[in-house]
């Protein structure tokens, strides 16, 4: 069993187990057998940490059902974070693409026992951050709800936020907390930490430890660290300014809020497309410009080695640096005084091309199945599903069964990744040893 196949089948198995659990009468508030499509949709959405829902999690599912959803989120998020971190570390060892693929082909998952220490570290860090988030949120929720309810709410939302899952127990996501400073800061902090990747967090940790110990500061941040943090910051700033500009006078979103609240909500809107999926405003009443900016940010998504989805900040950055290189007439792509290997350029193109094709296919299929729904809303939903974001303009529950199946497949493909899925399906790639002559073409 190759690594890509193990990952793809692992997610599939988890989704199917989850579907089984979520149809049980014990999982439902009503105590009856649940609808299979609803269970499949919810299970896929949870395992892929997407957050799109066709039923209200807080009222449709019983406490046990909600616990199952939370477990699926945690397993899905941790599983993805672990798998991508291992790939990231393997890549760090200067393997070429061909070596890496060959490695993935030969390396059985059992041989990865050296990674056990890494998995332990990831699990510990995850639980620590989630616990801190839960404690912080408990202090807010306990002002309104009973202790037991507050504990459950705090735990659920903390796990969901760190895993960028977007599932919530309130029917309106976090709209009622739109102007609550503590909830906004706690949730956005969890989202950003969950979306920045394990490696980046560990580098900050080691850097901080070295500084505290008064050691001569010789930590050299990796290229991944620099690219992930700077691109994330740029996207946050871009989103913040964009949403503030687009929604400033929209009476349905920012228009009727005072200045500090406008900033707070814009900040949240800018963080949540990093594939978190919580919302503090109604995306169905956003301006077209706002929806468009959200679609673009969702498609880019989070950083590698994290719980988030999308094409990843690093991929986006490579495309950006390529464009800069072309404009400067350079033959190699540089980023922070490091040269980006050509195999990475090819892979970045493959990722983006495959992703765009998947989104286009999903959008076309949904518009064919539900021709009455406006195009923007369908595109928004498709990108949200693909990048495992979970934001919605409110159409998820009302689309036809066929569109729901399309969304389920899109969430799955978006999570395991187009390339990973194709590698799993195609199997053994045989590198050719023939060298063909180069020939030029005019592009653009």
């Amino acid at each position: 069993m190759t690594v890509p196949r193990t990952i793809c089948l692992g997610f599939l198995a988890l989704i199917l187990v989850g579907t089984g659990l979520l149809t049980l009468p014990i999982s439902l508030q009503s105590g009856q057998w649940g609808d299979v499509l609803t269970a499949l949709f919810t299970s896929t959405s949870a395992v892929c940490v997407t957050g799109l829902v066709v039923v209200d999690t807080g009222t449709y599912f019983s406490g046990f059902g909600q616990f199952c959803v939370l477990l699926l989120i945690q397993l899905g998020g941790l599983g993805y974070m672990t798998a991508t971190t291992i790939l990231l570390l393997l890549l760090g060892r200067r393997f070429g693409l061909r070596d890496k693929v060959a490695l993935q082909q030969t390396l059985d998952i059992e041989e990865l026992s050296g990674a056990v220490q890494l998995v332990k570290s990831i699990v510990a860090l995850t639980l620590l951050i989630e616990l801190m988030g839960a404690i912080a949120m408990f202090s807010v929720f306990s002002q309104t709800y009973s202790t037991g309810r507050s504990l459950w709410l705090a735990l659920f939302h903390s796990v969901s936020a760190f895993n960028n899952a977007g599932f919530g127990l309130f029917p309106d996501s976090l709209i009622s907390y739109a102007t609550s400073v503590p909830i906004n800061l706690i949730i956005t902090a969890l989202i950003i930490l969950g979306g920045i990747g394990y490696q980046v967090m560990m580098e900050v940790f080691f850097w901080g430890r070295d500084r505290l110990k008064g050691k001569p500061n010789r930590t050299c941040f990796s290229l991944n660290f620099k690219v992930a943090t700077s691109t994330t910051l740029a996207l946050l700033l871009l989103g913040f300014v964009g949403f503030l500009g687009a929604e400033f006078r929209n009476p349905n979103t920012l228009g009727q809020l005072d200045a500090p609240a406008k900033f707070l909500v814009s900040w949240f809107m800018s963080v949540t497309p990093r594939t978190a999926g919580f919302n503090t405003i109604d995306y169905g009443r956003m301006t077209t410009t706002g929806l468009f900016i959200t679609i673009a940010l969702m498609f880019v998504g989070a950083s590698p080695g994290s719980t988030g989805g999308g094409i990843k900040t690093t991929t986006m950055r490579i495309l950006f640096e390529c464009t800069r290189a072309v404009l400067r007439g350079k033959e190699e792509v540089l980023c922070y005084r490091r040269q980006i290997p050509n195999t990475l350029l090819i892979k970045a193109i493959g990722v983006v091309f495959g992703s765009v094709m998947t989104v286009i296919l999903a959008t076309v299929l949904i518009t064919l199945a539900d021709p009455s729904i406006e195009f923007t809303l369908v595109l928004f939903e498709a990108v949200s599903a693909f990048a495992t974001v979970g934001l919605s303009t409110g159409i998820t529950a009302s689309v036809s069964a066929l569109s729901k199946v399309v969304l389920i497949i899109t969430m799955y493909v978006g999570r395991v990744g187009v390339l990973m899925l194709m590698l799993a399906l195609l199997g053994d790639p045989k590198p050719s040893s023939i060298n063909y002559p180069q020939e030029n073409l005019l592009v653009g």
Copy 2:
């Protein structure tokens, strides 16, 4: 004066001269001074061979005005075709990107005198094809109109079709000829020839001549030939099947036609996004799926060295072959047993990234200026302007002045190309001689 600056300023100068001509009282049917914004929009649209219009060309402009439009189309189309063919031939000489850019910097346009022969050949081929198209169409139009009017109609539509300009003299483009087999075949043939590129036509010509002469057939088609023709064919087929599927039961487009007419109109719909811009159905009444397919096809556009726009079939093919290479675990990108140089991959990324950003920026600005217009229609218009297509869902004339200015700039940027414009603005790129170490990143 560098080549990029010459091209950018040349187009700008032609647009401004055209604007002046089209404001003159003699150019208007009404005999009064024309609106400057309307003249600027029409002149840009004509020079960039786009075909978006804010007034009906056939009734707003006088015979002289229409002649000016036709002249601007011919100069704009020929100018672009010549410039890109020269670049294509220079590339054929195995220059790297750095050499090419350096060459463009040092090579004054006056030194291109060796290209005079090439320009003569391009002009001759263009006029020959346009003449044949005009004669063929005259035989159709003369059944309905007087000889003089038929001549003018045939000439205007032939030149407009070969230059992929999309300007017509009928207020409804070619909707009244939707089921006319001769007009459909003549126009689509002109569009395809105009969009395939000079080099491809010449290779076919030489191949045919050698075969006729009974010479041993040793013509070796270039990579550009193979990529341009096969990708164009694939796009035509994809569009044909897509439109037939999407519009089959739409009563506003294909629904009420008989089977042969359904095929004919689908064929036309599949050809015209190769940035021609004529239409035989009302795009404002198309299904969302159909609009979406059109947007995708328009963005790809035509082949290099032609009159058409878009990111070009070759760029699209490189992205596709990259994706295939990644899935097969290969480190180099192959296409017809030729290796695609890495500089070309970088350039392809630059072209697509720059193009997507331009379209996003234009779309956001228009949705901000005209928030009441549906998003799909705005995106359709922005892509149509950028890829110099000229198809419209009918909003062009009714958008605000600000949006019209955005469309004018988008048409110009789309025509000269994002990279060309940036090179013209930035000037002298200085290639660095420092070699930086490689470092890996996880993408996707």
